[in-house]
């Protein structure tokens, strides 16, 4: 009998059909991968499975019995638990409290805590996954990977509620982990399989293939395919996810234009700040310069310094030959510099404000007549960019928070384009958290902008991305530029060439 089955689940949101008759089968003691682009309906499906979303139509069956899940507790009673993508632990409580939170049982009698009992209960859970975290440690003193272990331990508490093997859902658990931590997590997942079923969601296909027994692919709110991972071909899965055969040229390399320049657009000499020293760099108009380096190399701070968001102690910055000072982000905007920050949700956009307002945030003049917002001017401007970047949004005054990640990122990019005066774009992990399709779109946009003469500094999400996109790569290590590698189409360096300079 199937541990969990979903039949024809439908969920409408105003204007969007998030789920359009999804079918899903989870067998006992298997690891099922769930793949799909952002917007394919993965998160809605998961929310429905833990009772956070009430489906309009369709059935959820637990061990053959149709069930109605009203909330997380209901789901837990049926043995379904989820480790959320955004970590769901209370930072200022102890690990033990987090593990038993909401189902304290014997650890709290008549409202009074029994710390010893609680510690013991938590320890039991941690022992199950072989973790040696101190249950009485405050959660915010733990590392990200440790906190994830605490979350898994917390989810395993549902075993106590139901006599059957639980179903554990892991929503994008690897997105912020380092490769070594990912290995630990995978070992953990294989261990969970002994006594539970696991649903593993990730946008990294290699991981899905690595750890799962079977993969179900979602697209447009439907299940479009199911593949046993043994012998699966990644390209085939990609194709299923995107729906078309898709271009093999992920990075749109053939759209790259050769850089011709006499004078660099941006020229930096001897730039020093808190975490970087004596950085020299040049970017020509139409050139994409990638800066690579390990965590702590100082590349993020250099990027922020070029946007006036990080103080510098020495150095000279020239744009098109003219010396400029960047004491503030305002000065950078005025100089025609645009910045797409890494933390999109925190720094990149105002989630509750509309697409139109987010787009015109930095270039108010573009939508105003005198001191007043000119609605019609704004509408034409915004609509033009929505069309040009093919941003999928119901309307221009939809709150940006309701768009998918890729479309949000396009709006953030558009913010620097509406003024028509951008000369240099600083892209700090512009594809972080985006799925393949959206990434590809962002890459295409970058190519377009480059060919229109914008100079780009890119902090790539991966070495492959840097190599794929850049015309030239700077390697930074410990706050200094250690190497410069030409990266023309047809003569791309290998990741290995770069790595040896990075460490």
């Amino acid at each position: 009998m199937n541990a969990l089955e979903v039949r024809g689940l439908v969920k409408h949101y105003p204007g969007v059909k998030a789920l359009d008759g999804v079918d899903l089968v989870v067998r006992p003691h298997e690891v099922l991968g769930l793949a799909g682009e952002n917007g394919a309906g993965k998160s809605t499906l998961l929310k429905a499975l833990v009772g956070l979303v009430a489906p309009d139509k369709g059935q959820i069956l637990v061990r053959g019995e149709p069930v109605k899940l009203r909330n997380v507790v209901d789901a837990a009673d049926h043995g379904i638990g989820m480790v959320f993508q955004e970590q769901s632990l209370v930072p200022n409580l102890t690990a033990a409290e987090n593990i038993v939170l909401g189902s304290e049982g014997a650890a709290v009698r008549r409202g009074v805590y029994r710390w010893d009992t609680m510690r013991r209960l938590a320890q039991e859970q941690l022992d199950k996954i072989g973790s040696n975290i101190d249950p009485l440690a405050r959660t915010d003193t733990l590392t990200f990977a440790e906190r994830q272990m605490v979350e898994i331990a917390k989810v395993l508490r549902i075993e106590e509620r139901s006599q059957h093997p639980p179903v554990i859902i892991l929503d994008e658990p690897t997105s912020v982990l380092e490769s070594k931590e990912i290995e630990t997590l995978f070992a953990q997942i294989r261990r969970l399989r002994e006594f539970a079923s696991v649903v593993f969601v990730s946008h990294r296909l290699d991981e899905v293939l690595d750890v799962c027994d079977r993969v179900t692919v979602l697209r447009g709110g439907r299940s479009v395919g199911e593949v046993a991972t043994a012998g699966a071909v990644p390209r085939e899965l990609h194709r299923m996810m995107i729906g078309s055969t898709g271009s093999d040229d992920h990075y749109h390399g053939n759209a790259a234009t050769p850089v011709v320049s006499e004078q660099p657009r941006l020229s930096v000499r001897g730039l020093s700040g808190r975490s970087f020293q004596d950085v020299d760099l040049d970017v020509a108009a139409g050139e994409i310069l990638a800066i690579v380096g390990v965590h702590g190399s100082g590349r993020e701070d250099v990027c922020r310094a070029l946007f006036g968001a990080e103080p510098t102690t020495a150095g000279e910055i020239r744009m098109d030959g003219a010396k400029i000072e960047l004491p503030s982000t305002r000065a950078a905007c005025a100089a025609g510099i645009g910045y797409v920050p890494a933390e999109r949700k925190v720094e990149g956009m105002v989630g509750s404000m509309s697409v139109a307002e987010n787009m015109t945030l930095a270039k108010q003049k573009a939508r105003c007549t005198g001191p007043f917002v000119a609605p019609r001017k704004q509408a034409t401007l915004v609509d033009r960019w929505i069309r040009r970047l093919s941003i999928r949004t119901p309307r221009r005054d939809t709150a940006i928070g309701r768009l998918s990640g890729g479309n949000q990122q396009k709006v953030v990019l558009a913010r620097w384009l509406v003024g028509g005066d951008v000369r240099l774009l600083l892209l700090d992990h512009p594809t972080r958290g985006l799925d393949i399709g959206a990434r590809s779109e962002v890459y295409r946009l970058m190519r377009e902008l480059a060919s229109s003469g914008v100079a780009t500094v890119l902090l790539a999400d991966s070495l492959e991305e840097a190599i794929g996109m850049a015309d030239r790569i700077l390697v930074m290590s410990d706050g200094r530029v250690t190497a410069e590698v030409a990266c023309p189409n047809g003569g791309k360096p290998s990741p290995l060439d770069l790595v040896k300079e990075m460490v």
């Binding site: 956070l52 909330n71 997380v72 507790v73 837990a76 959320f84 769901s88 632990l89 209370v90 930072p91 200022n92 409580l93 409290e97 939170l101 909401g102 189902s103 304290e104 709290v108 409202g111 009074v112 805590y113 710390w115 917390k154 968001a309 982000t329 720094e347």
Partner: protein
């Protein structure tokens, strides 16, 4: 520093007077700390204390009527504080009124109720037990100081060992996570406000004991002083950090400061202003670590 400037400040007597003077503030701060830990704010102390002061002074032996309920009157006054607190709590969770506005309203209601009870004639109390609280001493400290100490102990135990206390802390840390874990947050919010109300009620009773009379203005200024003390003690206004013991230290710091200023000859008229500077400085100091990376402070 004050000890160096004024020999009087160093005396045992002065330590005693600081502790005695801190008693009421300590009790009120104890209550407000739980609200602040949740990330809410409570401005109702002044009104609740006024109402409770009038209630208790009219229920124990006094010059306005023939009541002489003694201890029972004190219990009723504290329960009245609970009622006002739960009113704030319900306004917050049911009507979704932001806590600062809800409690400000409740404070006004409290003052209104107190004014009605006051009815133009000041009730002077003659209840020996209540009067003795401010006068009698045990081991050198007034009964009020011991009551405050007991409140701090109770508050600490609740914070450390009860679900109410821990959840109040957790609500300030990450409210959504509690909901995701299947915890119903709203009853705990109401309970915390109710619980804080009890402390304000007791505070009102204590002020009445000090003054020997029930005054509408019994709680005047305590709302602000209590927030100052809690913040100085390290309780964050955003919630999730701090606690009763922190606040107790904060109360002592604030009292030492105001007392010290008087002892070195600064006019007491300066006190209000100084307190204001302290609270803004303390909050500013607390958010400095979070100000990096251009984060906007709302």
């Amino acid at each position: 520093m004050f000890a160096a400037l004024s020999p009087q400040f160093r005396s045992v007597d002065n330590v005693r007077s600081i502790v005695d003077a801190a008693a009421v503030l300590a009790v009120v701060t104890c209550g407000i700390t739980f609200v602040l830990m949740m990330g809410s704010i409570d401005l109702s102390a002044a009104g609740v204390m006024g109402a409770s002061a009038l209630t208790v002074s009219l229920l124990v032996a006094n010059n306005r009527n023939d009541n002489d309920f003694g201890f029972l009157g004190i219990v009723v006054a504290v329960l009245l504080g609970c009622a006002f607190g739960s009113l704030s709590g319900f306004a917050l969770v049911l009507l979704k009124v932001p806590s600062f506005m809800a409690t400000l309203g409740v404070s006004a209601i409290g003052l209104g109720v107190a004014t009605l009870m006051f009815a133009g004639v000041q009730p002077n109390i003659s209840d020996t037990m209540l009067e003795s609280w401010a006068i009698e001493r045990f081991l050198g400290f007034s009964y009020l100081a011991w009551i405050a100490a007991a409140c701090i102990l109770v508050g600490w135990l609740i914070q450390r060992y009860t679900r109410l206390g821990r959840y109040a802390f957790a609500i300030g840390g990450a409210e959504e996570v509690l909901t995701l874990s299947g915890v119903k947050v709203r009853p705990y919010k109401v309970a915390v406000f109710t619980f804080a109300g009890a402390f304000y009620g007791l505070g009102g009773v204590m002020v009445t004991s000090q003054l020997g009379a029930g005054l509408v203005q019994a709680g005047n200024g305590y709302d602000f002083s209590a927030i100052t003390a809690a913040v100085v003690g390290g309780t964050l206004l955003t919630g999730g950090r701090g606690g009763v013991l922190h606040s107790a230290v904060g109360v002592l710091l604030v009292m030492v400061l105001t007392n010290g200023l008087v002892q070195v000859g600064v006019s007491p008229y300066w006190q209000g202003g100084v307190e204001g500077v302290i609270v803004v400085a303390a909050v500013a100091a607390a958010v400095i670590p979070q100000r990096r990376r251009n984060q906007v402070v709302k």
